[in-house]
Amino acid sequence: MPMLAAGSAEIALAFVELGAIILGLAALARLSHRVGLSPIPAYLAAGLLFGEGGVAQISRADDFIGLASEIGVLLLLFTLGLEYTGAELTAGLRSGWRAGGADLALNFTPGFVAGLLLGWGPLGALMLGGITYISSSGVVSKLLVDLDRMANRETPAVLTVLVFEDLVMAAYLPVLGVLLVGGSVLSGAISVGVALAVTAVVLLVAVRFGGPISTLMAARSDEALLLSVMGLILVVGGLAQQVQVSAAIGAFLVGIALSGEVRHRAEALLTPLRDLFAALFFVLFSLRIDPADLPPVLATAAVLALVTAATKIATGRYAASLLGVGPRGRNRAGMALVARGEFSIVIAGLAAGTVVTEALAPTAAAYVLILAVLGPLLARLNPAPPAWVGRVPGFRRRERSGVAR
């Protein structure tokens, strides 16, 4: 039967291609962990090196990689939601609004302004703002553990900023999802309202009724739990996409809704899956970028990276000063927050196939590439802050009051 023969040859080729890609990623992950860096920049760099041509070469496994990378985004957002309990998010909003607000103002603005200056329009600017705003909670948490800083007194400040960013994402992603679909101003405004209302309601349900939902999901066997949670993520994600709230936010809300022991087990079960699918997402994201598009955006990305590294350091220093932490601790908090990573790429990935400028993806890739490497290096080396940092008006005052406390 020639049909079957052709089919199995096709499958064989797809397996080999997919396997080769995953083995390549494995080598990169191994290397990154050895030098103490996040593997994300390595995945991105690999994708960029192979460039656009790479997609054609892996065409046989392309269908699977496309879907797998979408699932990777869902799992990234799911584990982000899983990271904090509803109670922690509520507490974060109440006690972290000052640090979180400063974080938003200092780090969203540079990206937004740059987007406008580059002529990307309000939507492109909104996306670039989001990309420069959100720290990589994965990289930051790993740094805190690796550098034995969990007990440090500035660490609650760092975590508060991350919790607040988590909350901002819950509002930002649905708005962005709706705006990317486009349409008239009025229908857009209505859709944004609907999307935010749906998100708020689900968030409330998740915080209030997280217990019963988790009890419902609870299963003795790991297998049953894994399948239940995975199924729920996909169904809620799909439904959210249907009402234009973006599948990612649906997955995020599922993560928040899980609590107690189920959440603990789900984290252990789904983190390996996330690592697999997210790796495919990162490499596909950068594979789709034409290497020729990279050099023109390099200068922009570098300037943006330097500016927003400085603004993140200022954010961390301010957040730590609110807790009465001394100068050195404030500095550590700032350096720890510099890394941008998975969520900046998730935001940029949402732009694929929409009206937003083509320069966004290569800019985001170059930007994350710089800061996902620079961030951990700064946090490890912890250099003394340049003298001008203390001279920023308003900053000094805070520091004094911090010491006095």
Binding site: E83, E88, M150, R153, V163, R328
Partner: protein, 160 residues
């Protein structure tokens, strides 16, 4: 017990700080996973740690055993386990509270709130199983066991 303060670490667990009478600052990070970090703070930079010891759950138990603190907490954990709905609560007696300075028998704790007073701790001196003549002196930490509702009533009268 010395002055222990607690701080939430969102996404991680909680941190407990303790100052020894010798002047050392200690911290214990309780991870949700059960892991514990034992930290000794740096004198030169009090926000950072001079040393951090990572302990798995079983190792933390072993260390607690060596330090002699495990008998009480284990007994309590067992009790909690045995009777569902029963909670142990630490309540500090504050100046001006309705029951401050009065004796256990006088205010009829058991009849009023339904909780049992397990111990009174004053200046590090523990008095287990106190009698009706023992008083709720200001500054005493009252360890009581009972249903959540009764414990709430007790807390109101001792620190309200």
């Amino acid at each position: 017990m010395g002055r222990v303060s607690e701080r939430e670490l969102p996404g991680v667990g909680a941190r407990f700080d303790l100052a020894t009478s010798d002047g050392d600052q200690l911290g214990v990070v309780v991870h949700r996973s059960g892991r514990r970090d034992l930290a000794v703070y740096d004198e030169a930079d009090p926000d950072a740690c001079r040393a951090v010891v990572r302990l798995e759950e079983a190792e933390a138990r072993d260390l607690a055993e060596l330090l002699g603190g495990s008998r009480i907490s284990e007994a309590v954990a067992k009790l909690r386990h045995d009777v569902a709905g029963l909670t142990l609560e630490w309540v500090e007696v504050l100046d001006g509270a309705p029951w401050a300075g009065r004796s256990i028998g006088e205010v009829e704790v058991r009849t009023e709130t339904g909780v049992s007073i397990v111990a009174l701790v004053h200046d590090g001196d523990a008095r287990p199983s106190p009698g009706p003549d023992d008083r709720f002196e200001v500054g005493t930490t009252v360890i009581a066991m009972g249903m959540a509702e009764g414990l709430e009533q007790l807390a109101e009268r001792l620190s309200g």
